[in-house]
């Protein structure tokens, strides 16, 4: 049960910006710091911009920064934007995908698991992660 590479990279890029405290970074700079290719970052930033996580533009005078206060952006916001769907099984939203829905005993467990995961990822903000980053590296990027 994995978070996709796409989701992990989105979190790494968002944390890179949060840890940079509000000044713009170019895709190239983010790429150098995170090890994620600039091309991949550009792809990743399309949904993140659309969903109000990042602001910015590509190009020589471009650069990216968080669109909002990092206290107000949760890890869940970033993951849901990058992955589109973070549900643990297809049926947790009750959209009638399965004939057994409604009397499926297993489904209740999945719904409970899905809620616990959502509560956890929504309780951690990018500001929390930036503080954890600072505590770990004492403010100095190794």
């Amino acid at each position: 049960m994995k978070i996709s590479t796409r989701g992990q990279y989105a979190l790494e890029a968002a944390l890179c910006l949060a840890a940079n405290r509000g000044s713009r970074l170019s895709t190239r700079e983010i790429s150098e710091r995170t090890g994620i290719s600039a091309g991949y970052l550009e792809q990743l930033f399309i949904p993140l911009k659309r969903d109000g996580v990042l602001d910015g533009a590509r190009g020589p005078r471009g650069g990216y920064l968080l669109a909002r206060d990092p206290e107000k952006i949760s890890a869940g916001d970033v993951l849901r934007s990058a992955e589109q769907n973070v549900a643990v099984v297809p049926c947790v939203k009750g959209e009638g995908l399965c004939a057994k829905e409604g009397d499926c005993i297993a489904q209740r467990t999945w719904v409970e698991l899905d809620r616990a995961i959502a509560a956890r990822i929504d309780s951690v903000s990018l500001a929390d992660l930036a503080r954890a980053f600072d505590a770990r590296y004492n403010g100095a990027v190794p």
């Binding site: 049960m1 994995k2 979190l11 710091r33 992955e83 992660l129």
Partner: protein, 143 residues
């Protein structure tokens, strides 16, 4: 972040066998029909569950599967780890490989707590909880 069909179908197989109330063995064909899952796929999952001692097979005419453990002793987390393998939300770091400081921070501050949350939810649930809403008083085999 998905539970695979293997884990989901395995759990439904156990639920189906357990709901049979233990008298006569249940065939995979019956389960496949009731659960709307392909029989060959169910067979693979049944093999893993039998080897791990969750179900036992009865050979011959009228044969099939029975539960091998009391429902209260079957932890959902254990069943899923058996069928899904590693349940952690990200792969472990490759030994000797450099991780970016961002990735290392996320591991510590997000992924590891998330793994613990998932394990807590799945390990406090037994098959009996799923069947009856609580483990209490259901120590019998496959009630």
């Amino acid at each position: 972040m998905k539970i695979s069909t293997r884990g989901r179908y395995g759990l439904r197989l156990l639920i189906d066998v357990a709901q049979n109330r233990g008298d006569s063995p249940v065939t995979l064909r019956e389960i496949a029909e009731r659960q709307n899952i392909s029989e060959p796929y169910l067979e693979q999952v049944a093999i893993a569950l039998r080897r791990a001692g969750y179900i036992r097979s009865v050979k011959g005419a009228g044969g099939g599967y029975l539960c091998a453990l009391p429902a209260a002793d079957v932890r959902v987390g254990d069943v899923l780890r058996l069928l899904e393998g590693d349940m952690s939300v990200v792969d472990a770091p490759i030994p000797g490989a450099d991780e970016s400081p961002y990735r290392a921070t996320l591991r510590e501050a997000l992924y590891e707590p998330l793994d613990r949350t998932i394990a807590e939810v799945l390990d406090r649930k037994t098959l009996a909880d799923l069947l009856y809403g609580s483990s209490a008083g259901y120590g019998d085999y496959c009630i």
